[in-house]
């Protein structure tokens, strides 16, 4: 049974890379995720439906299309890609950062939905009460709104993480499948299935994939439970 846990260096790299990509994708999309969720939950502005549609696009477009659009925009010669590379030295194409971007974009609608729902559930009267106690809107957000939406925030973050762990189509289209750079777990599994005798490796990585996803799920349940108990919401 040792073949199950005896990973080759390349396989280890894929595991490590996947976790790194998913973590960065999750963390980087949290601030814009909260901002967009706030805007959608509370904002009254022209083009709100349009924004909502754009946010949800990755959910309904074929991942290949999303990946290709990313390539056009953030690729070496894409407008955003060229600008970021020139002014900030951030390069996405064929780098792990590009994989993180693709995963972040694909998980973004899921994250925004979860956070938006929890913001809509917040009793705004609590915020008004905090205001009468002297808290300005920023403090109200930090001390009342944010703690109250924490369960939704955790759920959204874990969803985005899980989505990133499984992302394949957009990633491989945007940044290809380069071992040790952009080859995440799904790409590695795909590669194994394309070569003769790769079944063993594919199975190993599949099991690891299952374990990591389950761990993320359990972690989110435990966190949500703990936060919920603290607030005695159950």
């Amino acid at each position: 049974m040792t073949w199950l846990v005896d990973l080759t260096p390349d396989e280890w790299n894929a595991v490590r890379l996947s976790i790194k990509v998913a973590t960065v994708a999750m963390l980087a999309s949290l601030p814009p995720g909260i901002a967009i969720a706030l805007l959608l939950a509370r904002g009254q502005f022209w083009g709100k439906t349009l924004l909502n549609g754009v946010v949800h696009l990755p959910l309904i477009l074929p991942p290949v299309v999303t990946g290709y659009l990313l390539l056009l925009t953030f690729g070496k010669r894409g407008p955003a890609g060229a600008f970021l590379a020139e002014h900030f030295g951030i390069v996405f194409s064929f780098r792990w950062t590009g994989a993180a971007l693709a995963c972040g974009v694909m998980g973004f609608p899921l994250m925004v939905r979860a956070i938006r729902l929890s913001i809509e559930a917040v009793d705004r009267k609590m915020e008004a009460a905090a205001g009468t106690l002297g808290a300005n809107p920023l403090w109200v957000f930090a001390t009342i709104t944010l703690p109250l939406i924490l369960p939704g925030l955790i759920a959204g973050a874990i969803l985005a993480f899980a989505k990133a762990m499984g992302e394949f189509g957009a990633t491989i289209t945007f940044v290809s499948n380069i071992p040790n750079e952009t080859q995440t777990l799904p790409s590695a599994i795909y590669t194994f299935t394309q070569v003769p005798g790769g079944d063993e490796g594919a199975l190993r990585l599949t099991l690891i994939s299952v374990v990591i996803s389950m761990a993320a799920l359990v972690a989110s349940e435990v966190l949500a439970l703990r936060v919920g108990r603290q607030m005695d919401i159950e």
Partner: protein, 370 residues
């Protein structure tokens, strides 16, 4: 200290045109539901922006639409106690209490944590979560939280409305202490005659978005005709009295007022303590001659100063008893039978047992003396 309000506001079909000022210790905004009192208090707190007008607290303009002034709620330093308490569920009681303190400039902090906790009797609750508190406890914590932000003015929006009678009786004495022992002026919204008569020094009476009467409590509460229909039976004279002595044999307390001695069921208060009593107009009988052989213990001589038509078969009679006005609601038939007219000398008769916790300021149980 004073509160001055002169605003106009429109919400769909409902229009408010209200103008009043008060310098009282506890000003009640009183009226039936839908009269605009909660809207008004929300405007003072800064939760609603009036279409036009001016709101001034202690000479500082908080709203002046002509001058383009609108101070946001977090800069007003006006405490608010909501009907639904609104304690923050993710903080302990102590965390809730400390919340406002944090945003108050150090040199303007006058409220002391220990004193407020003591005043409201919430010491044993400090480490609990809001969800573990009873309705009455929540409301006391909410009052404490507002106080600890060291407000210039404390607003209370029907703080007792969602509580049962027992919880109300538990909190009322604390609000009386707040009124008597702190220097913060209070504006109190209520639709209950019992609460207003017991707590308020001044009353602003509202109906359909307009101020229909305002002034000292005893004067305003005599306007039975202005009371909301469902509260009319509760209306009557409000007398400020003092405890003279207790009658231990019969379990009564003798109060002394301008109108004379009034016997009420035993109160848990020391001799000399001030007690405000409300004598419901419907509980008062009128005798043309000094009655004898009557079970009622309170017989107050006086002169009829006003007779107004009341609801249905009733007339309302104001009797001046040595400077204090007692109201009686009797039938027109009785008035004619007794030939009551302005200037007539009569006796107002009130049964001792018609007084209960709802119409005597029963005070805190801690003040019981042996």
């Amino acid at each position: 200290m004073s509160v001055r309000v002169d605003i106009g506001h429109r919400l769909g079909d409902f229009a408010i045109e209200a103008r009043f000022e008060s310098a009282g210790r506890l000003t009640a905004l009183f009226g039936p539901s839908g009269s605009g009192k909660t809207t008004l208090i929300n405007m003072i707190a800064g939760l609603i922006r009036p279409d036009k007008g001016r709101i001034e607290v202690e000479g500082r303009a908080l709203v002046d639409t002509d001058a383009g002034i609108f101070v946001p709620k977090h800069r007003r330093r006006i405490g608010m106690v909501f009907q639904d308490a609104r304690l923050f569920p993710h903080m302990s009681v102590a965390g809730n209490l400390r919340y406002g303190r944090w945003f108050t400039p150090a040199k303007e902090r006058y409220a002391d944590m220990d004193a407020v906790v003591d005043l409201l009797g919430i010491g044993p609750l400090l480490n609990r979560r809001p969800v573990k508190l009873s309705g009455g406890e929540k409301q006391r914590v909410a009052i404490g939280r507002a106080l600890l932000a060291s407000p210039r003015l404390l607003l209370m929006d029907e703080p007792l409305a969602s509580l049962d009678e027992a919880r109300k009786a538990e909190i009322l004495p604390y609000i009386e202490r707040l009124r008597d022992e702190t220097k913060i002026p209070i504006v109190y919204v209520s639709h209950s005659v019992a609460e207003v008569a017991r707590l308020a020094s001044d009353v602003v009476m509202l109906a359909q978005g307009k101020v229909v009467a305002s002034g000292p409590t005893d004067a305003v509460m005599q306007r039975l005709d202005l009371l909301p229909a469902e509260e009319r039976g509760e209306g009557g004279a409000v007398l400020d009295t003092k405890v003279l002595r207790h009658d231990e044999i019969f379990g009564m307390t003798v109060l002394v007022s301008a109108a004379g001695e009034i016997r009420v069921p035993r109160l848990a208060m020391k001799a000399g303590a001030p007690v405000r009593v409300r004598i419901r107009a419907r509980d008062v009988m009128i005798a043309a001659e000094k009655p004898t052989g009557l079970s009622a213990l309170n017989i107050l001589p006086g002169t009829i100063v006003a007779i107004r038509p009341g609801e249905g078969p009733a007339v309302e009679v104001d009797i001046d008893c040595n400077g204090a006005t007692v109201l009686a609601r009797i039938t027109e038939q009785s008035r004619q039978a007794l030939e009551l007219r302005l200037g007539g000398k009569v006796f107002a008769v009130v049964k001792t047992v018609s007084f209960d916790r709802a119409n005597t300021g029963a005070g805190l149980p801690l003040e019981v003396d042996g």
